[in-house]
Symmetry: C2
Amino acid sequence: MTIDAIARTRRFHRAVTSEVGALDSSFLGRGRPLGPARVLHAIGNGVSDVAEIRAHLKLDSGLMSRLLRGLEDEGLVTVTASENDARRRSAALTPAGEVEFAEYEALSDQQAGAILSRHPHPEALLQAMDLVATALGFDRTAIQRVPPSDPRAQQCLATYYGELAHRFSGGFDVNLSADPEARDMEPPRGAFLLAVLDGMAIGCAGLKGTDKGYAEVKRVWVAPSARRMGLAGLLMRAIEDEARGLGIGTLRLDTNSALPEAVRFYRKSGWTEIPRFNDDPYPDVFFEKHL
Amino acid sequence: MTIDAIARTRRFHRAVTSEVGALDSSFLGRGRPLGPARVLHAIGNGVSDVAEIRAHLKLDSGLMSRLLRGLEDEGLVTVTASENDARRRSAALTPAGEVEFAEYEALSDQQAGAILSRHPHPEALLQAMDLVATALGFDRTAIQRVPPSDPRAQQCLATYYGELAHRFSGGFDVNLSADPEARDMEPPRGAFLLAVLDGMAIGCAGLKGTDKGYAEVKRVWVAPSARRMGLAGLLMRAIEDEARGLGIGTLRLDTNSALPEAVRFYRKSGWTEIPRFNDDPYPDVFFEKHL
DNA sequence: GATGGTGTCTGACAAAAGTCAGTAAAATAA
DNA sequence: TTATTTTACTGACTTTTGTCAGACACCATC
């Protein structure tokens, strides 16, 4: 590693640390110390289980308890016993808590907007931020099954289609392609998987059930900021696990030679090329894999 | 500002906050709380004046005093009265302090190296980090006069020459160009300015004194991560101030039509095009400005 | 239904960080 | 010169955060 690279990384760190400090101190502007503010924030974001909050914020159980008591006393939070395990407790915002949470959200949005709006080329900045965020947290990536109608899934697909339109010489119109019906990509016929990192979808993959003795792998996409990190491999392994769980023994997929990195990837990971098996106008390369 | 852009920015913030937390806790690994560690770090980085440290770390004067006393008791720091103002005090590392500081530096370097080395495409990551760091801190940019021999200046120039070689169809060899002698760009004949942000040079500009009744502006360069932010304007205003300070009334510069953004910039900012005034092989556009 | 383990809470501390009024010494202004 | 301001220091706080040993209720298991 060159000295210059280290220096640049550390400079990034300095810059970002002071920025983070500024955000944190803006959180203090609402007259509440950082501890309770962070807990309120976590609860507002749907982390309701007390143990989960504790793990998330790395808090001692005693401290956690007191912070929750404080928020209860303020009338922002109610804590009730969990349904299936009465030892565990679950926190929820009161209406007043919702209001207070919204104020913090507005502060954060404002801060984020300020950074973006004073930049001459926001999209470049956003792409850089995506790349950095993905690089820093990649190990925390979680693969989760969602319905294809999930808004994050839809967003991935829209980006995917946009990219295909850009890379295929004749463009790409999803309506001309064999668009899987949503329920073919939901249990019990199939599945749709999202790779999520820090709350943002950075990749997806679909498993489409058919009645022809095999299932198809569709819509494998990795966000530009996460490429070459091995995410496609993670997604494909997860898709194969899903298939096995559904009792599917054979997988097929189609792709296009205009996407050489995809073709290379499938060749490398145990897929064998087979003759055309559908009449979709876009693909020109076809693969099969037995589980 | 679209919702998605805000969400992406906030996601970046989340990712980076947890990373920064990890660095901070690695600082705790040396058995010293964050407060003293930060003060030691500041002193090691050349912020010796007590008032300056206080401003930099936003510490109360009482707290500052106690932190310094603690570091003195540990034998890491000596605090002496300032030379020109005996009320002010100035801190310096003892040999033991130097050693301890080096340990923190090594920790930071290690952390930075770890981030880079686990990434498949470090240069892209570095560029993204530069862009983000510059965007976040741009307002803190400081313009400072340095000798052209300053290593940061040399690094800017090397990058500048590399870029010219890349953009001129016939390449660029600085030895064929009229390379200003160093002392022509130092007071009292001229000046060399550096734009520094978070310790990193992100731009430069030179003022080269001549005996021909005018001075030349040379080597105006802005780092890719800082372009379109108005830094060239800042640098040029500073160069003009330098020229005025040296009693120079007329400025000239040459550039090349292969750098249209530069030509556009000079046209926009009060320079008038004039006929060729030198026999340098590279430039083909010439400007003059009266102060 | 006894046993051991888990999740939360409380009390009792301790460390770290932050606050503030007052003091002393030096610099600056009147 | 004297008065005022500036800079750092000290003492006496408070708040925030972190730690730890029980206590208690609950769950799972034999």
